[in-house]
Structure formats: C-alpha cells, structure tokens
C-alpha cells in the first residue's frame, strides 16, 4: 500500500528513528511502512494519523 509517511516525516525534518520514538515502534517498522513492504495494523495507522493530524485515508492509499 502506498503512503505519504516519508513526505510527512520530511516536512517535520524528523529522522526515521525520531518518528519511531513518537510511534513507539522500531525504526525498521517505520522504514518498512515507508517503503511499502509492510502495512501497519489499524491501531498503528490511527496513531500515525493522529500524530500528523490527518485522516488515515489521506495518508494511506489502498488503491495505489
């Protein structure tokens, strides 16, 4: 699934490790989501959306 996580992270000038700390996940998790190798669970997707103040569907695109 494609997503805008890398863009949102870059806008805040955060490293993958910083975002991982905010989300309480490993850096590998952030990296795998950004590269589309792993789709996050619903609770993690909600945490990401809340952190960036956006809706889940504005960050993740299931059709892409």
């Amino acid at each position: 699934m494609k997503n805008r996580l890398r863009v949102l992270r870059a806008e805040r000038d955060w490293s993958q490790a910083t975002l991982a700390q905010h989300l309480k996940v490993s850096r590998q998790t952030v990296h795998a989501i950004e590269s589309g190798k792993y789709d996050p669970s619903l609770p993690l997707a909600f945490r990401i959306a809340r952190l960036f103040g956006e809706r889940i569907e504005d960050i993740f695109d299931p059709d892409a």
Partner: protein
C-alpha cells in the same frame, strides 16, 4: 524554503536491522529474560543428562531430574510468548514468519529424515533432532528480518 527529500529510503543494512529490532526497553527486558531462561534450560538439560547417565541419582528421584528441564523449558516458552505479545508489530510479524518457515522446514525435514533412516542412511540422534530445528528457526528469523529491510 528548502526542497523536501522524498526520494525512496535506501535499504537498511543488516547491522541497522539487527540494531533496530528490540530497540524498546520492554523488548530488551523480555528478550533478556528469554535468553536467560534458554540458557537455564540448556544448563538444566546438560546437568540432568549427566546425573542420569552417570547414575548419580537413583530411584524415584530420577523422574524429578527428568522433569526439571521440561519445567524450565515450559517457562522459557512462556517468556517467548510474552515477548511475542508485547513486542513491536513488525518484529512480531518477522517472528511469526520465522516460526512458520521453521515449522514447515522441520516437518518436511523430519519426514524426509525418517525415510533416509529406513533406507539405511546415517542417524542424527536425539541431540541432532533437537538442535536442527533451533538452528533452522534462528536462520529463518534472520531471513525473515531481511525481507522487511
């Protein structure tokens, strides 16, 4: 305003992957417990084997010696399940991938091995049959974690 760097992130190196896993204090604590219980099981298994082979203990006490490593192993499995439940979700996925792969390879391997022994091939012995699935599991974890780098 500087342009955003949104180019795809390069693959993580093997070292970065290993460093990234179990990065939270809770994961480290759970993994530490699992390692210590695994070592405890190995020591109790070797000690029990020694006591039984050398006939240091006799009578009904032998059954206590037989049961002790099994009890330690039950606790080891419990600490692993706890680690699995509380860990980061990608680490859990990697662990489940590895368990499924190791289970499949072990079942197929044991089926093949049983035919090999019937055909007159070499026998691995109990030690080999215990060690082989563990080595396969460790290798499966490594391969599974590389899949998500």
């Amino acid at each position: 305003m500087p342009e955003l760097d949104t180019s795809p992130a390069p693959r993580m190196t093997v070292l970065e992957v290993l460093k990234s896993q179990c990065s939270s204090p809770q994961d480290r604590r759970n993994q530490f417990r699992f390692v210590w219980w695994t070592l405890g099981w190995a020591v109790s298994f070797v000690a029990a084997t020694f006591l039984l082979v050398e006939e240091v203990v006799t009578g009904p006490t032998r059954w206590v010696v037989v049961a002790l490593p099994a009890l330690v192993l039950v606790q080891t499995v419990r600490t692993y399940i706890r680690f699995l439940r509380e860990t980061d979700e990608l680490t859990r996925r990697i662990q489940l991938d590895a368990l499924a792969t190791a289970f499949g390879i072990t079942v197929v391997g044991l089926m093949g091995y049983s035919l090999v022994t019937v055909a007159g091939g070499p026998e691995l012995g109990v030690d080999g049959l215990i060690t082989a699935p563990m080595v396969i599991w460790a290798l499966s974890q490594f391969v599974a974690s590389l899949r998500y780098r």
